[in-house]
């Protein structure tokens, strides 16, 4: 976008505008997303508990309820406890919120040659995981600086939980990376092009199981029920945000809904085909960039709607789980992570490695041969895209070595585990 704009206006202005567009889009996605999700959560919880949920504000379905809540929160007094560390107390919600938003920088919403992504990173998955892990920092600061034992207990629980669940979560994420042969989220999404038969969740039995492990770990790592020990009302009043009120409190909730959305989108890109739908509509309608920019744009738009739709679906599943299952005890949470999720993830990782070694280039439990063009994107696509044609010799070399890579990674997996 910036090079295009700089043909018409000054370069610095072009870069600033391009940056602002990305920032505004991401901020609005998270903020409006939170608005919708809070309303959705109220409606879903109401329906599950045989109630109606909000019905009055904004017409029949109460869809302006969150806006009314937001105005109420804005007018509340900005309180801080007398014994608190005021500077850290004030800054903690922003830390959480920033970390939650920063993950969206590297998340693509449509792929192809010109992906819809704020910053196309070569290590997208890794970056998203690293940034999502930082969200807990705001929670710890909040818990510590509130000078309240409830807050501190909540923060310590959350810290222990998030640090533990990062291990199985990382192992789950490695499997799609292994199959696609890249850490680049755009490449991972594009190597599942076509119908739902090419999705990584159906790639082999191991990925099918590991998807559910990922769902469990993702729910735990964003602190949703049944893993919401950090804010257990029955024991800790409200956990780390006991002392917060008004807008600062709502920042924590925007961060929570933002990271719920980002782990759901990550799941959809890693396992559920990302912008490639269950039915390849864009292929039937020839909506690809080769047929002109407008049709290509339409295709990308459908892809973005697809990704966001899958993300919203994932968030709805999390809400469904929240209002169905009772909260676990802290030792049960730890046992779920260390005794079940981690060993299962490790075994599935090993299995997926072996499967990939035995049956490369197959999809849908090894029953379908993936067409070579689709597989070529996954096999070193990042190298071919980023390296200019002048380096084609080295490129061939790299492709060669990627082909040789698999036995080595298998050996590593056996020794490392």
């Amino acid at each position: 976008m910036a090079p295009f704009l700089s043909q018409y206006i000054w370069t610095w202005l072009a870069y600033t505008i391009a940056g602002l567009v990305h920032v505004v889009l991401i901020l609005n996605l998270v903020a409006v997303g939170a608005l919708v999700f809070i309303w959705l959560e109220r409606k879903i919880s109401g329906r599950i508990q045989d109630r109606l949920g909000p019905t009055r504000v904004g017409g029949k379905f109460g869809w302006l309820q969150t806006l009314a809540d937001g105005i109420k929160l804005l007018t509340k007094e900005d309180l801080a406890p007398a014994g608190a560390d005021h500077f850290l107390f004030r800054i903690a919600p922003y830390v959480s919120f920033c970390a939650s938003i920063a993950a969206f920088i590297a998340i693509p919403f449509a792929g192809g040659e010109y992906p819809w992504i704020a910053q196309h990173l070569n290590v997208g998955v890794f970056f998203v995981l690293a940034v999502l892990g930082l969200e807990v920092f705001g929670v710890i600061l909040a818990g510590y600086s509130s000078a309240s034992k409830w807050s501190l207990f909540g923060a310590m629980r959350e810290a222990a939980q998030v640090v533990s669940y990062e291990v199985p979560l990382g192992m789950c994420v490695v499997v799609p990376v292994l199959i696609a042969g890249s850490l680049d989220l755009v490449v991972i999404g594009d190597s599942q092009a076509g119908s739902l038969l090419n999705w990584f969740i159906f790639h082999d039995p191991f990925t099918f199981i590991i998807f559910w492990v990922y769902c469990t770990c993702a729910t735990a790592s964003v602190n949703r029920a049944p893993f919401d020990l950090a804010e257990a009302e029955s024991e800790l009043v409200a956990g780390f945000h006991t002392e917060y009120s008004g807008l600062r409190w709502s920042f924590f909730f925007m961060a929570e809904y933002g990271s719920m959305f980002s782990v759901s989108i990550l799941a959809s890109i890693l396992f559920l085909g990302g912008w490639h739908g269950p039915i390849p509509v864009t292929n039937f309608l020839d909506l690809s960039p080769e047929n002109g920019p407008v049709l290509g744009y339409m295709g990308q738009l459908i892809g973005a709607v697809n990704v966001i739709g899958k993300g919203v679906f994932g968030v709805c599943i999390m809400m469904w789980i929240r209002w169905t299952l009772p909260r676990l005890r802290i030792d049960q949470v730890m046992a779920t992570c260390l005794k079940y999720c981690t060993p299962i993830a490790a075994a599935m990782f090993l299995g997926a490695t072996l499967w990939q070694l035995q049956m490369p280039g197959k999809a849908f439990f090894g029953l379908i041969n993936v067409s070579p063009s689709v597989f070529a994107i996954g096999d070193g696509g990042s190298a071919t895209r980023l390296v200019k044609p002048a380096e084609s010799k080295q490129d061939v070399n790299e492709q060669d070595q990627i082909a040789r890579k698999k036995p080595a990674s298998l050996e590593l997996a056996q020794k490392g585990l």
């Binding site: 610095w12 070569n122 970056f127 940034v131 892990g133 510590y144 200019k388 080295q394 070595q401």
Partner: protein
Amino acid sequence: MDSIYWPTFFFYLFSGLACAFAVAVLLSSNIVRMAFYLVLSLGATAGLMFLAGAEFVGAMQLLIYVGGTLVLLIFGVMLTSQERFVVMKTWAGDWVKAFLAGGALLFILAYAAFSIPEWRGIERTEADAIVAQPTVTPIAMGLLGARTDDPSRAGYLLPFEIVSVHLLVVLIGAAYLARAKRSRSSIEKI
């Protein structure tokens, strides 16, 4: 305004932030605030890495150093301190000693950095001509034993294996040390 070279601008921005927060770590006396500034300083360093095109190292910096500081903060400070807000006082003599040691290190590093001709700045036209290379694939291939830059030379599979086994030992050791200790009598009863 086109004369501003934006990578340079961002380099100064991130390095300034990193230095400012590093100084803030020194000047603060509350240990959790120190950790907070340290996280910001390390985060700005990660920004420098992303700016230099070393995305893998940048993400690694975020995951290991920033996340590591977090764990350090929790387990090293909050679980061991007895008071509510830990405050550290520094004596004047400590300041003098710290300035001598730190200044000497800074002098040596700056001297070494400026004395190597390859590390001097290059012209803008040259800088614009450089194409960003992907860094992840060469690193991963190097760790798996195949060097993409120079195929005739050996990779780093053996050091990688040694480090990974070492880390595994550390993990098991940490779990062993941190496990809930049963008293001897209860074991004998069983």
